[in-house]
Amino acid sequence: MPEFKPAEMMTVAASRALSNDDVCFVGIGAPSAACNLARLTHAPDITLIYESGTIGTRPDVLPLSIGDGELCDTALTTVAVPEMFRYWLQGGRITIGFLAAAQLDKYGNINTTVVGDYHKPKVRLPGGGGAPEIAISCAEIYITARHQKRVFVDKLDFITSLGHGPNGEGRAAFGVDTKGPTKLITDLCIMEPDAETLAFTVTSLHPGVTREAVRDETGWEVAFAESVVETPPPTEEELKVLRDLQARTKAAHAG
């Protein structure tokens, strides 16, 4: 087994959840790395869409922003932003939406708006951007986040985007018929919503990660599936492709 970092395991695990037929709405950071890793390994024909309007993009280096020139240069086509949100996202054409989170709860509801009170925030976070409609319009949602207690909280300060509802009441209560968060991929484990409670439940632990480690970094009482498997470690190829991609990216962004 090659040596790897937890963040690399997270990216690799997320990339494996994607297939050649997926049409992904890709966010910056870990989602972008995972989607492009999938494209460069097992899913060469995956369609990647960034909200800047680039459709079917194949960047050689990861973009720093959602609209780096690299995305347009390598896209099949680039559309205006209103069209992106109307025809492509709201039109129901996206199979997987990828969201990151500053705070998330066990039902996959996400906060990226404020820490503290909305009107007198302790920390003013960036806000929702595309997330409120990504969360409801994509066929399903994958969430990636570093597993930390201050991120995996029991109660959100603000609901930026819908998961399975603040009380796990399900999405139908909000007039939403898409699946919502079906996977939460962290640097420690993979969680999936329990069929009954809709709460995230650990289904796979990354190599060397204990249940206690997960519990220590989770702000809610963690549930484990009946059979928890071990995530296969990154292969030599996955690691090489990911590290090459990140090295190219670092060199390109140094300016």
Binding site: L64, S65, F85, T113, K122, G127, G129, I136, F174, H253
Partner: protein, 282 residues
């Protein structure tokens, strides 16, 4: 009808204290040179709207030009938070900042509605999202055929739109290509429009028939400012200066450092500096 004039003249004619202003460009073609001009001219009490306030509004907010911000994502993409915007929201420095917050879909639809001459935009959005609770400008309408409840937001109709584009011809017809964002909509939604361009060419006819072009009679002023999008970029001219976006995090980290940088590069700078800035990144 578009006049080709120097940038300071266009800004002086169009942007007055208290105006509402959309300076658009989705990552690409952000009109930084024009924002510096607005700051240099000392405009105050502006209502500014932009999907992604980004460095361009971080600078204007930090310099005290802005009374109200309408936005949907206030980050330095891939880098972190916008420190001057945070300081204004969290600490009222240098002045209190009113915010009206939306999602990207809402803002994009609201510009589209503005361009289409409609009073509001209707879309499927905000379900289960809490912004509805804190923003009274998020309402709903009911589909008269299905009964489905859809979100509605007011159309965005700024007094002035300012964008950056690749080129104009001598009549003032403007070409935008690459990541085209919401600039066409912002210009068509506005009462007046300024476009900074990399260059003026003889003629845009004979290019591909379906390019994104703003006819000259939809634009008031065209200003030639090579490099005018830096540190953003202009497809076909110069790349995004990602290193500067990263550096900005430190520049904007404290008030004094920010003010010193603005004094040197903006208050004592001019549109003519941008060609050099952008050239650095090539």
């Amino acid at each position: 009808m578009a006049k080709i004039v120097p940038l300071d003249e266009a800004v002086a004619h169009c942007v007055s204290d208290g105006a509402s202003l959309a300076m658009e460009g989705f990552t690409h073609l952000i009109p930084h040179a024009a924002a510096h001009e607005v700051i240099r001219q000392g405009r105050k009490d502006l209502t500014v709207m932009r999907m992604t306030p980004d460095l361009i509004y971080d600078q204007m907010i930090g310099m005290g030009c802005v009374a109200k911000l309408i936005f949907s994502f206030a980050g330095n993409p891939g880098v972190g938070l916008l420190r001057r915007l945070r300081d204004a929201v969290e600490n009222d420095w240098p002045r209190p900042l009113e915010i009206e917050e939306h999602s990207h879909a809402a803002m994009a639809n609201a510009y589209e509605a503005g361009a289409a001459g409609l009073p509001c935009a209707v879309f499927r959005g905000y379900r289960g999202a809490e912004l509805k609770r804190v923003n009274p400008n998020i309402k709903s309408v009911t589909c008269p055929f299905t009964g489905e409840e859809l979100a509605a937001v007011p159309a965005l109709k700024p007094d002035v739109a300012i964008i950056h584009a690749q080129k104009a011809d001598k009549q003032g017809n403007v070409l935008i290509e690459g990541i085209v964002g919401v600039q066409k909509e912002a210009v068509l939604a506005a009462k007046a429009a300024i476009v900074t361009v990399e260059e003026v060419v003889d003629d845009l006819r004979g290019l591909h028939p379906n390019l994104c072009i703003l006819p000259h009679w939809t634009v008031d002023y065209v200003c030639v400012v090579p490099g005018g999008a830096h540190p953003s970029y202009t497809h076909g001219y110069y790349p995004r200066d990602n290193a500067f976006y990263t550096e900005w995090d430190a520049i904007a980290a404290d008030r004094d450092g920010f003010l010193a940088w603005m004094d040197e590069h903006v208050l004592n700078g001019g549109p003519g500096d941008f060609a050099r800035h952008a050239g650095k990144g090539v």
